[in-house]
Every structure is written in C-alpha cells, then in structure tokens.
C-alpha cells in the first residue's frame, strides 16, 4: 500500500493511489478522517489542492469528503460534502434502481469522478458489494470478457464512451452479466437505444442527472420512462428542483454539498440554499424537468433562445462521426456558435447535416459555420475536449453569409 498523503488533516487520494490499491481509501473512509479525491491525471496541480484544503475550516477535517469539478467554466472548484450524505445518496440510488440483486460493479470511468465515486465506490462500500476495476477501452477484450461473464453487474458510462464500447461488441456476443447501466455526465444517448438493447440485453438502463455540487445526483430515470433525450424526470426524494429567473436549473438537496472552494475562497452552503446546476431547463406541469443545455451553450440570438445541445443532438442523428460546438461572436459582435465535425464529411454527409438545420431549426438557430477536423480531440470520457479543439486548426466546410 502506498503511504497516505495527508494535508490539513485531509486524506488525499489520487488516480495513481487508486490504480495501486483501494485499501488506503477504504481505511480513510471507514475512519473519521476526511477524504479528498484528487484527479491527478487530469492536469490539476497538486499545489492547487493543498491551497484549497488550507482554506477549509478545521471542523471539516473529520467525516467529510471533497470532490473536484471544473463544471462548464474550466475553473476548478472543490466541492465538500459529508460522508453520511454520500452514503445516504448511495442508498437512495440503491433503492431507486432496485440494486438489491446486483452483486458487483465494474468501473469504466476514473473513480475520482464524482459520478463513478458515489454510484460505484461508495455504493459498493456501503452495500458490501464487489468493485472491479476494468482496463476500460485500453484493453477492450479484457473489459468485454469481464462484462460478459460474471455475477449481475452494474456499470456507469457516459454516452460517448458507450458509442465507442458498442463498436467492440460483436452481434451475438452481448455483455450478459450487466444488469444495470447508468448514464450521466453528458446527454443521454437517445439514438443508441437499439444498440443498448443489443449490447446489454439483460440490463435496466438509467439516465442519471446531477452535478458534483449535488454530490452528485438529482434525478434518476429509467430509460423506458424517458419521454425524450432531454427528459430529466422528477427529483429524487430529498431533492427540490426549480428554475431561476434566467432559466437556470437550481436545486436544494439533502445529499448536497455543505461548502465550496472556488476563486480562492471557501463559502459554506446553507441547508436552505439553492445552488445552480449551470444548466438551463424547463419545468413541465407534470413535475418533470427537461434540459435545454449547459448555461454557456444556451444563448439568445435575434430574440430566440438557442440550445446548442439540442442542435448537436439533431446532428448526431444523421452524422456518425464526432460533433462539437464552440461559441464565437458573429461579425456584429453577437454570440453565435460553430459546429465542428470530425472526420471531414463527404459532400453528401455535409448536406445531410445542413438539411437537419433547415428541417429542425429556424434560421436564427443555425450555426455561423460548420468546421471540420480530421480527428476530434477527446477527454478520457470520450467527450470532445473543447480547450484542445480551440487550439486545433479547423477547415471551414460551410459558412452562412452574415
């Protein structure tokens, strides 16, 4: 076992620690020591963690847990919750997904993600289940064998990761040990429902919505109860959802964060305080909520609310490659977006994408341009890496005269 890193009374657990052993995390979690999950392989400077921990009140150094998020801003925030709330969240998930018969969980995402940490590590620890670390897509054959043979299994995925995994699962060789599949962290892969049934024929599939500040879950909806790709369902027991004046989805949760370190300062989250999700959504009369997109990806153009997420979802229905959107300003200085495709589409493929804009969206919603790159830079979750994409040389495939 690696020697523990302790700072300001907090037990730091990084990706490399977890790759070596989970014993240190388990020991710290079972003690009264507070634990911070440090995604050291995602470019976060360890000095940033030490500085953030120095800003926490000393009282938080017992029985708390801290997770990192960068949200949509790219600026790291340390989100502090309590171990008891995390355990309660895991139990809530357990009941909501009827996980009693599930014997183990297999990881495909880093456990330093709040999603994987709570849905898998805390769940397995709290409910005495086995947690198996898979090599993921680094060794597809081994991962496939792991998910095909074995006791009833729960996995946590993000949509783009499933698309990649599905390509490596031949027809007639489904991953039959998997009985629960969770999606979170990206729009639910609505067009992939047939592929989900093919790859995981025994599984119940769930769309999980939340954010790290919610630690991390706000809604859980079974795929067969979803009314569409943007449907978030209804809040979990103990969670309140609302829409603020700007259209941002906000929440109060019995499981949520108790404090945050952002912009170099700690602030406490009061029990009755609403927190923003950074997402824009609408509330329906039946109590369900529907997502319009990230706050940074929903903007007004010519008086109309443009949802970049909805547009990318429509593009992905006709485009098998990668698609991303980047915000820019048009020549008049107004906000606008550019759709980026990879690899470069043929003329017919490009026309099919453009046809989607015409068929589904008014002109005010159309992108400024469609750009192309040979290869989309991706994060380890297989989502587009927008920071890297911004630095990538792109070719203009289509441009609307403005």
């Amino acid at each position: 076992m690696r020697s523990a890193t302790v700072h300001a009374g907090w037990h730091l657990v990084g990706d490399d620690d977890l790759a070596a052993s989970h014993d240190g995390l388990a020991a710290a979690w079972s003690s009264d020591r507070s634990v911070v999950l440090a995604p050291t392989r995602r470019g976060v400077n360890p000095a940033w963690f030490r500085d953030a921990l120095d800003r926490l009140p000393a009282a938080l150094a017992h029985d708390h847990v801290a997770l990192l998020t960068s949200g949509s801003t790219g600026t790291p925030r340390l989100v502090v919750g309590t171990k008891s709330r995390a355990r309660a969240m895991a139990s809530c998930i357990h009941v909501h997904q009827d996980n009693h018969a599930v014997a183990r969980t297999v990881t495909l995402l880093p456990l330093t993600y709040s999603y994987a940490f709570v849905n898998q590590w805390v769940w397995a620890h709290a409910h005495d289940r086995t947690l198996v670390v898979s090599p993921g897509l680094a060794d597809v054959s081994a991962t496939r064998a792991l998910l095909r043979d074995g006791p009833d299994t729960m996995v946590c995925l993000v949509g783009p990761l499933f698309s990649l995994l599905a390509r490596h699962v031949p027809d007639g060789e489904p991953l039959t040990s998997v009985t629960r599949v969770n999606f979170a962290g990206a729009p639910f892969p609505w067009p992939e429902r047939a592929a989900l049934a093919r790859v995981f024929p025994r599984a119940r599939v769930f769309n999980n919505y939340g954010c790290t500040e919610a630690m991390p879950r706000l809604t859980i909806t079974a795929m067969d109860a979803l009314t569409g790709p943007s449907d978030l369902g209804v809040p979990l027991p103990g969670v309140e959802l609302g829409i603020d004046a700007a259209g941002e989805l906000r929440f109060r949760s019995a499981y949520g964060a108790v404090g945050l370190v952002e912009d170099g300062a700690y602030r406490e989250v009061a029990a009755d305080q609403w927190l923003g999700t950074q997402d824009v959504a609408v509330a329906h009369d039946d109590g369900r909520f529907a997502l319009l997109g990230r706050r940074s990806e929903v903007y007004k153009r010519h008086g109309e609310k443009v949802s970049v997420a909805q547009q990318l979802e429509a593009v992905r229905a006709v485009w098998v490659g990668q698609a991303a959107a980047m915000m820019e300003r048009d020549p008049a200085g107004d906000p606008a977006h550019v759709v980026v495709l990879a690899p470069t589409p043929s003329a017919d493929q490009l026309r099919a994408v453009l046809k989607v804009f015409r068929a589904r969206f008014p002109r005010a919603h159309w992108p400024l341009r469609v750009d192309c790159v040979d290869t989309m830079p991706l994060l380890e979750t297989n989502k587009p890496d927008l920071q890297a994409l911004a630095a990538t040389v792109r070719r203009v495939c289509w441009q609307l005269p403005r």
């Binding site: 453009l354 002109r363 159309w366 005269p401």
Partner: protein
C-alpha cells in the same frame, strides 16, 4: 474556375440550405421555406461576398426568385450567362 452561374447556384444552396436536386434557375422565393427575412439579409451579404455587389435593402427585399438575382447582377455588369 467556377463560373458565375455555378457560384450563384452554390450561394443559393448555402444560404437556404437547399438540396442540390431542389435548385432550379427559375426557383421562386415562395418555393423556398428558408427564404425568410433573415434569409434576405444573408442572401444580400452572400451576393456581396461572392460577386462584389452589395444590394440595397430595397433590391434585396424585392428579389422574388433566382431569376431576379440574375437580373440584378447582370444589371450591374456581372455575366451570368451559360
């Protein structure tokens, strides 16, 4: 090198997101669902970017079809024959 006629055809495809098989040189504005008020502006900008002539607002709003665009450009000495 692309002829002016081919440039106009491509411009119409790009501005109104037409399918290639939808385009005709006698296509009327009333037949194109995307030739709306913002489309008028976009077409005017596109004509300027492609042919170097910037239609006045009156000219742009008065265009009732591809034939009118051809007439406008030919009236400015831009050859769109053949």
């Amino acid at each position: 090198m692309m002829s002016n006629r081919a440039k106009l055809r491509q411009l119409m495809l790009d501005v109104f997101l037409l399918d290639e098989h939808e385009f005709r040189f006698d296509l009327r504005r009333s037949e194109i669902d995307t030739w709306d008020s913002l489309g008028v502006v976009s077409l005017a900008v596109g004509i300027h970017q492609t042919f170097g002539y910037h239609p006045t607002p009156e000219e742009a709003t008065g265009l009732a079809g591809v034939a009118d665009v051809i007439a406008l450009l030919e009236g400015r000495g831009i050859d769109l024959a053949g």
